[in-house]
Chain length 498, copies 2
C-alpha cells in the first residue's frame, strides 16, 4: 500500500471512532433513558480519548512524514494530508491536562448555568466564567496565533478567519443593520398571529417530514426524531440524521427548525462519498455549514414562491386551520420582525445583531476592555444601542445562551453570521445560474437548486479552505452586501422602508 | 491502587467497549437507516477488535498475575479474577485468523441462508454448513475440552455443562415429553382463535407496555422499541432495553414477546450495580437467562391468576374485542398446544422437542453419526418420531433457523431447554417461599416475587457458576421433574390427560 493509502486507512479508523461518538450522542439526545447517563459519559470519554490518542500518535506522525511530498499539492490528496496534519498538530499541541481541565470545567459550569439561569443568579456563575475565560486563553496559547489569542479559537470553527477579518465584516454589517432594524421596528409590525393557531404535533411533524423529503433530504440515508435542542449529525455518509422539536401552539418551531436541519443535512448528504470517514468528508467550516441551514430556512422556506407551493399542502394537512390564509399573509407571518431579547427567538433581520453582540463581548473579554463582572451591564447597554430594548434581568440577557458555559469562551458565535452572509451570497449566485429559480421553487422542483449547491459547495467537503470555497462558489469573497440587499428587498420593502 | 482495583478498571474499560457495541447493535436493529449499514459494520468490527485486543493484552496478563492470590478465594473478588482469566485465556487461545475466518464465513452463510430458505434450496447451503462445521470443530480444538469437542462450544454459553450432562437431562426429558405430547395432541385442541381477533398495533403496544411496567420493568432504566426479531440488550446497568414486534391479527406476538424480553430485562436490572461493566455484571449463562424470560412468559403470563388481573385491563384497552371472553377461555387460548413444524411458533409443551432435536443433530454432526448431506432426512425423521409431523420441505425443516448459518454449529440451542427446566424449578421454589403467590399475581402485586428472584438469582450476576447458582436458588441441581409437573398440571389436565 502507498503512504497516502495507509494514511487514509488510519484516518478512516479515527473517523469511525468519531462516528461512534456521534451515534452515542444522538442516542443520548433522543432515546436514552435517564439511567444510562453515567455509563454513557464514560463511553463517550473513552471513544474520544481513543480518537485523540490516534490523532496524536507517533504512527500518525510517521504516516504524515511519509506523505510530506504530497502536502503542497493542489489536489485532493494534498488537502487530505494538510487537514490530517492540522489535526495531528492540534492533538499534540494541547496538553492532555488542559483538555481534561476544560472538559471538567465545562461539565461543572453547565450544571451551574442550568440553576443560575432560572434563578437570575449571575453572581453564582461569575467565578466560573472567569475560570472559563482563563482556560480559553490557555487553550489559545497552546494552539498558537499570530495577532490575537481569539484568532486561535475562531480558527477552530472557521478556519482562516481572524478577529481582524471578522471585526471588519461585522462593523460594516452593524453600521447598515442597526438603522434598518430601527426603521423596520418603527413601522407597523406584520401579523404573525396565524403561526400560533394550534396544530396537532403529529400533523406538524408529518408536514415537516413531507417538506424535508420534497426538498431532497434522503430518508434512506437519514432519519428524523424528536429532541430538546434540534441538531443534525453525520454518523456516516449514508447516515445523516436530523432532529426537531414541536409545539402545538407555534407552527414555526417544528417547521423552521426542521428545514434548518435539513439544510445542514443536505450539505452532509452531498459531500463526495469518496471522502467519507476522512477529514475531507465534512463541512468546510461552521460558517459554511450555517449558510446551508439558513439558505433553506430563510431564503427558500420564507419566500412567497415556497408558500405558493406548500400553503395548499399545509391546508390539506391541517384542515380548517389556515383556510382564511393566503400566500401574502403566510409570508407576512414568517417574515415578522420584532425587537426580541432572546437570540433563538430572533427573526432574520435582528438575529445578526444578537450574534455580533456576543462576538464583540468575547473580543472585549479577551482584550480586557470588559471584565466578567461587567458583562451583564455591557450586554444590556449594547442591546439598548443595537436593538432598542433592554433586558429586565440577566435571564433575558447574559445568562440566556449555554455556549459560554459548555465550551470555551470565544469561537462559537461568529459562524452564525458568516452563514447568513454566505447564504445570501449563494442565493444571488443561484439566481444568476437559474433565472427561473423562483418558478422552480413554486413548482416544488428543487433538484437543480440542490445540484447547484452540491456542485459549488457540498461535494467538495473540506477540500478547500472556507475563503477559497466561497470564492469558487460565488465568484467573490464573503461580504455583507448580498445579505443587506436581501433584507432590504424582502423585509424593508414589506415595512415601507426605502 | 490495589491490583484488584486496577484489574477492575481495565475490565470496566472493556465493558464500556462491549456496551458501545450493544448501543450500536441496538441502533442498527431499531432505527438506523439502510444507508448506515456499511459504516456501522466497520464501526462494530473496530470496537470488537479493540475489546479483543484489551482482553488478550499483556497488560491484562500482568494484572491477572498480580491478582493470582485472590483467584482461589470464594468471594466476589475471586469470582472476578476467575471470570477475567477465562476471558483472557479465550482471547489468547483462539487465533485471530480463526476468529476472522468464522466471522467471514458467518457473513457469507447468513446471506446464503436468506436466499436458500425461501427457495427451499438446501443444496446451495450444504457446502457452507460443511465449512461451518469444520470451523466449529477448529474453534472447539482451540478452546480445548476434555471429553467431547462440543463441550467447548456448550461451555461458551452454558458454563459447566457438557455433552454428557446435557444428553443425560435431555434423554430423560424426551422420554417423558414424547408420550405427553402424543396424548395431548390426540385430545380435542383448545380454542386459540380469540388471539387472532384484530387489535390495532398501538393498542397492543400500550397494553404490553403497561404490563411490562406493572411486572416491574423500570422504564427510567430502559425503553421499548420495535424491531424485526425482538431482543433484550444491556447498554449498562442503568440502560437495559427491550424490543418487540407486533401483528394486528396475532395478539400473542407482541404480548408474549414483550413479556419474554421483560423477563430477560428484569434479570439484568436486578444485577448488583457494583458489578456493572465487569464480567460479573451479566447473567450467569444462556440457560439461566432464558429461565428468567420463560418464568414471566410461561409461568406468570399464561396463568389463570395473571389473566384474572389483566383480562379486564385488556378489555378496557381494546373495547368490544374480548367482551365475550372469560379467564378460562383466555387461558385456553394462551395454552393451546399443536404439533407445529416451526420452533418459534411452538407452544410450551412441544417447544423443547424442537430444541432437543437440534441439539441431538449437533451432537450427531460432531460425532460423524450424521453427515451434513443427511441433515434434512435426519431432521424430518426425528420430527416424525418426536412430534408426529413431517416437514413437507426444508423450509419447514432444516432451513428454518438462522443459528447454524450465523454463528458456530453447536452451543446455541441447549440453553433454551435448560431455561425452561430452571424456570419450572424456580416457580416451585417461589411457590414454597410465597404460599400466596397466585393470590399476589391475581392482585397485580409482583414486588415480592421480583424480590425473591433478585435475591436468589439476579443480584449475583455471574459470580457463581450456573450449577452453583441453581443449587443456591432452588436447593437442588437442574432437573426435569419440575417442568414435567408443570406441563402435566397445566396442560395435561386441560386436555384430560392423566
Amino acid at each position: 500500500m502507498s503512504a497516502i493509502d495507509l494514511l487514509r486507512d488510519e484516518l478512516r479508523t479515527i473517523g469511525d471512532l468519531d462516528s461512534i461518538s456521534a451515534a452515542l450522542d444522538w442516542d443520548q439526545a433522543t432515546y436514552m433513558p435517564d439511567g444510562g447517563a453515567a455509563a454513557r459519559g464514560r463511553q463517550l470519554a473513552l471513544v474520544s480519548e481513543m480518537a485523540h490518542a490516534k490523532r496524536a500518535s507517533s504512527t500518525m506522525r510517521d504516516l504524515l512524514s511519509a506523505c510530506r511530498d504530497l502536502e503542497s499539492r493542489d489536489d485532493v490528496d494534498g488537502a487530505l494530508v494538510r487537514r490530517a496534519r492540522q489535526r495531528h498538530e492540534r492533538a499534540t499541541k494541547v496538553p492532555a491536562a488542559l483538555v481534561r481541565a476544560i472538559k471538567e470545567h465545562s461539565a461543572e459550569a453547565y450544571v451551574a448555568w442550568t440553576h443560575a439561569r432560572p434563578a437570575n443568579d449571575f453572581a453564582s456563575v461569575r467565578p466560573l466564567l472567569e475560570r472559563g475565560l482563563d482556560l480559553s486563553r490557555r487553550l489559545a496559547d497552546a494552539l498558537g496565533y499570530v495577532d490575537h489569542p481569539l484568532d486561535a479559537l475562531i480558527d477552530e470553527n472557521d478556519r482562516g478567519s481572524t478577529v481582524a477579518s471578522t471585526v471588519a465584516l461585522f462593523d460594516a454589517l452593524r453600521a447598515e443593520l442597526v438603522p434598518l432594524v430601527k426603521a423596520i421596528t418603527a413601522a407597523k409590525p406584520l401579523d404573525a398571529s396565524i403561526l400560533a393557531r394550534p396544530v396537532p404535533a403529529h400533523v406538524q411533524l408529518e408536514f415537516a417530514r413531507s417538506v424535508a423529503e420534497q426538498l431532497g433530504y434522503d430518508f434512506h440515508r437519514g432519519r428524523m426524531d424528536l429532541t430538546h435542542h434540534p441538531f443534525m449529525t453525520r454518523l456516516s455518509g449514508g447516515d445523516v440524521r436530523i432532529t426537531t422539536r414541536v409545539r402545538e401552539d407555534d407552527f414555526g418551531e417544528a417547521f423552521f427548525s426542521t428545514v434548518h436541519e435539513v439544510g445542514h443535512a443536505l450539505y452532509e448528504q452531498g459531500i463526495d462519498l469518496a471522502f467519507d470517514g476522512t477529514p475531507l468528508g465534512e463541512g468546510a467550516s461552521s460558517g459554511v455549514h450555517e449558510s446551508q441551514s439558513r439558505f433553506w430556512e430563510n431564503f427558500v422556506a420564507r419566500s412567497p414562491a415556497f408558500w405558493s407551493r406548500f400553503l395548499p399542502e399545509l391546508k390539506r394537512a391541517a384542515p380548517g386551520t389556515f383556510d382564511d390564509v393566503d400566500v401574502e399573509r403566510m409570508v407576512h407571518a414568517v417574515r415578522h420582525v420584532g425587537r426580541s431579547l432572546i437570540r433563538t427567538d430572533a427573526d432574520e433581520v435582528t438575529y445578526n445583531l444578537h450574534v455580533m453582540l456576543r462576538f464583540g463581548l468575547e473580543k472585549d473579554l479577551f482584550d480586557g476592555a470588559v471584565k466578567v463582572a461587567e458583562l451583564p451591564d455591557a450586554w444590556n447597554a449594547r442591546m439598548t444601542t443595537d436593538l432598542g430594548v433592554t433586558p429586565s434581568d440577566d435571564r433575558e440577557g447574559v445568562l440566556q445562551d449555554v455556549h459560554w458555559f459548555c465550551t470555551t469562551i470565544g469561537g462559537s458565535f461568529q459562524g452564525y453570521t458568516f452563514g447568513n452572509m454566505l447564504a445570501a451570497q449563494l442565493w444571488e449566485s443561484a439566481a444568476t445560474a437559474m433565472p427561473d429559480l423562483e418558478t422552480a421553487i413554486a413548482a416544488g422542483e428543487f433538484d437543480r437548486l440542490r445540484a447547484f449547491l452540491i456542485d459549488r459547495l457540498h461535494r467538495h467537503g473540506a477540500v478547500y479552505d472556507p475563503a477559497q470555497l466561497i470564492e469558487r462558489a460565488t465568484g467573490k469573497p464573503l461580504g455583507i452586501e448580498p445579505l443587506m440587499r436581501h433584507l432590504r428587498a424582502n423585509y424593508g420593502a414589506l415595512h415601507g422602508v426605502a
